[in-house]
């Protein structure tokens, strides 16, 4: 699980070009949007695209649960693992 957390953090840094942020700066449990890392709605779209490309997961654009899936690195990891188990 630590590996996939690192992969997700790496993906966030690369895809969102967070040039000043290191892996260890991202708290696995902290919110990605708003108060935490401070990402915005364009970042959410960018991340959705990256997740589909790198982890081959399907994201339903209209799902009410997206907000929960995208809350933190931990919730993204749980979402990816659940999708891959299907």
């Amino acid at each position: 699980m630590a590996d996939i957390d690192t992969d997700i953090k790496q993906m966030i840094i690369e895809e969102l070009e967070l040039e000043d942020i290191a892996l260890e700066d991202i708290d696995t449990e902290a919110p990605l949007f708003g108060d935490g890392l401070g990402l915005d709605s364009i970042d959410a779209l960018e991340l959705g695209l990256a997740l589909q490309k790198r982890f081959n997961v399907k994201i339903d654009a209209n799902s009410e649960q997206n907000k929960e899936h995208f809350r933190s690195v931990a919730s993204l990891r749980n979402f990816v693992l659940a999708q891959q188990a299907q």
Partner: protein
């Protein structure tokens, strides 16, 4: 029409200060991947910018404090951010999804839009392109606003050489550079009176982009610059700064 340049700033790789611009040699255009710090731009916004937008905000930012609530802002660029749009076209050609960030910033007024958001600009803004005449056309636009009652106009020009794929179509020598000019309708202490006039093209066109020739002239000490593009000859002339 005469206007006054009350402030200016320009950036190119390795050239930022007035002293460095006075030594600028258009025979040796700057190259390389150097980026301006754009320290005034919040990091979360800065990360999204290519150099084309970043250098525009680098020079424009120095004048943000001087803008009045009614100061029009003009951003000009002949080609825009072609490296970014070319990447998007490549994605389309491969039937891949487009990057939402790249897509949102692929329009000609993207740098201007970010500037207006960062500085809460509510005055009229305009992004323009006019082929080889772009910088002069932007100046004429600014002069029009000044003659129509604006007391000052911010003019920002940013250029990046064409993306590699388009280089074979390049018809002028270009360099990565951005220029900001705060133009005023009347004299102010330290402001330089400048007049721009246009005539049908006489003589051969310059090998350089208009912004290259302008920056060379502006950084130097010649009283006038006459430069021909494809269709027009432009003449900028300046007098001594107001005491």
């Amino acid at each position: 029409m005469q206007v006054w340049v009350s402030q200016w700033a320009a950036w190119a790789p390795g050239i930022a200060s007035a002293q460095q611009w006075s030594a600028f040699d258009p025979e040796q255009l700057p190259t390389g991947d150097d980026m301006p710090p754009a320290a005034g731009v919040p990091a979360m916004t800065r990360r999204r910018l290519t150099r084309w937008g970043r250098q525009a905000l680098e020079v424009a930012d120095t004048m943000a404090g001087a803008l009045g609530g009614d100061t029009p802002v003009i951003f000009s660029s002949r080609h825009g951010d072609t490296a970014r749009t070319y990447k998007l076209l490549e994605s389309l050609a491969r039937a891949e999804a487009l990057s939402p960030n790249a897509f949102s910033l692929s329009v000609h007024n993207s740098a201007l839009g970010l500037f207006s958001i960062l500085h809460q600009v509510k005055a009229p803004t305009l992004a323009l392109a006019a082929g080889r005449d772009t910088l002069a056309a932007a100046w004429m636009e600014a002069a029009s606003w000044l003659s129509d009652g604006s007391s000052q106009v911010l003019l920002v020009h940013t250029e990046e050489p064409l993306a590699e794929f388009y280089q074979r179509y390049a018809d002028e020598r270009d360099m990565p550079a951005a220029l900001a000019l705060l133009l005023t309708a009347g004299p102010a202490s330290g402001a330089v009176p400048v007049e721009l006039s246009m005539s049908p093209a006489r003589g051969p066109a310059s090998a350089n982009a208009l912004s290259v020739d302008f920056l060379h002239w502006w950084g130097g000490s010649e009283p006038a610059l006459e430069v021909t593009t494809d269709q027009h000859s432009w003449r900028w002339s300046r007098a001594l700064a107001v005491a």
